[in-house]
């Protein structure tokens, strides 16, 4: 499908529907977290932030890995749609890492007794945030779309490999975070209600990512067409 203003508009429209559905899903997650899941014995109600914090963290990490993989393919195929997808993903990923960085300290204060701790996973999320910001800063300071695509792809690929190194190196310090409770070789050690709510929340975050990326992707396509059309003297059809 060749990009056109009509297809860009369609992508934005579809994105709006998915985003609205995801936001409704987020309301359901809140209801489930407050009414369906049991109150955690040691942490009390403070633990409820888990249902936003952990899915946001997973989503931010997943988006960054996805950007890295898409960037490898972009450098190979030079399809600008991949670059637009990576750009859209970076902006949404920045949002999720901001959610994770704000909910983290709010949760840490009552439970660890401190807003901030140089714990491996918290530090990792901080660097994920820095990487997203650096990626977007680089993009916004390059005018030529081809050069912008190649340069930012290089940063995304290097960043994807930096993430495990940050984790490894900060681990040589010390950790306060609980041991993994879901993603581990044995069965998850969560009550089933909590696990189900967590998975629903993760699904909702993924849907939110999808919806926002579709909207941003459509806007990106329209932007490119406008810039290209401006050079060729072509007038975009009325919105």
């Amino acid at each position: 499908m060749t990009p056109s203003f009509a297809s860009a508009r369609a992508a934005v429209r579809r994105g709006r529907i998915v985003t609205a559905a995801a936001l409704a899903g987020m309301a359901v997650v809140y209801l489930l977290a407050l009414r369906y899941t049991p109150v955690e014995a040691h942490q009390g109600l403070a633990q409820k932030i888990f249902y936003l914090h952990v899915p946001a963290a997973w989503t931010a990490l997943l988006i960054f890995s996805l950007m890295g993989i898409v960037s490898v393919i972009f450098l190979w195929l030079h399809d600008e749609r991949l670059d637009l997808f990576a750009e859209a993903s970076a902006e949404v990923g920045l949002m999720f890492s901001a959610i994770m960085l704000t909910t983290g300290p709010i949760w840490a204060k009552p439970i660890w007794g401190t807003w901030w701790q140089w714990d491996p996973r918290l530090t990792l999320t901080l660097f994920l945030f820095f990487l997203y910001v650096g990626y977007l800063a680089l993009r916004s300071s390059i005018h030529d779309p081809l050069e912008r695509g190649r340069f930012s792809a290089v940063v995304a690929i290097l960043g994807m490999l930096l993430v495990p190194f940050i984790h490894l190196s900060v681990y040589l310090f010390r950790t306060l975070h609980p041991k993994p409770v879901v993603l581990k070789p044995s069965a998850p050690s969560l009550p089933p209600e909590m696990l189900r709510t967590l998975l629903v929340a993760f699904g909702v975050c993924l849907a939110l990512y999808l919806g926002l990326v579709m909207m941003r992707y459509g806007a990106g396509v329209a932007e490119r067409l406008r810039d290209a059309g401006g050079e060729a003297g072509e007038v975009p059809d009325a919105a």
Binding site: G134, L138, S141, I142, F151, V155, F165, S169
Partner: protein, 226 residues
Amino acid sequence: MGRALRLALAIAGKDLRAELRSRTAFLSAVVFAALVLVIVNFARDPTALPALALAPSALWITFAFGAVVALNRAFAVEREHAALDGLLLAPVPREALYLGKLLANLAFVGTVEAVALPLFVLFFDVPLGHALGGLLMVTALATVGFVAVGTIFSAMAVRTRFAELLLPVLLLPFMVPPIIGAAGLTSRLLDGRPWSEMHGMLRLLVLYDIVFVTLSTLLFPAVMDE
């Protein structure tokens, strides 16, 4: 391979000859490193914290910022008079160009470090003695890692607006694993801890070097394509 290495050495030689002839960049970088050491010393409460306790941090803050300043210059010189276009037109594989630039940057950063290290020993009254060999090895391992990434970022940043600002924003996150490893090793070396406590961090440095030198060499052509 032999030809690529010869070309890389020729490019590195060209850069270093240009540095030697003007010396301004090198002298500024050395003075900058000395100033960072001074600032770290005075940004400390002398009644609460002895200078030696802060020594590993001071050393690695200095090396990190010194390297950023040095790397900012690496491709800025190529930009003037469109020298980079000349290099790209020459029948030089991009990988050899990267390797040449990497070697020149390593020589430049390494020389700054070589001057900063005695100053560090002097300012912070560090009993280096037995730790010198280990510290040189750790410095070499850490420097190779972040200069490898810094070389490719410097090539990109120079072609953007705000190059001087963008390079540290991109590069400093990549400096964190080598700095954590190197600073940890430095304090253990100065304390005379046994080698068994250093395996993990040494492995981290070596692995980082292998991954990022390889990856940067592979990705450099994407930065240089016209």
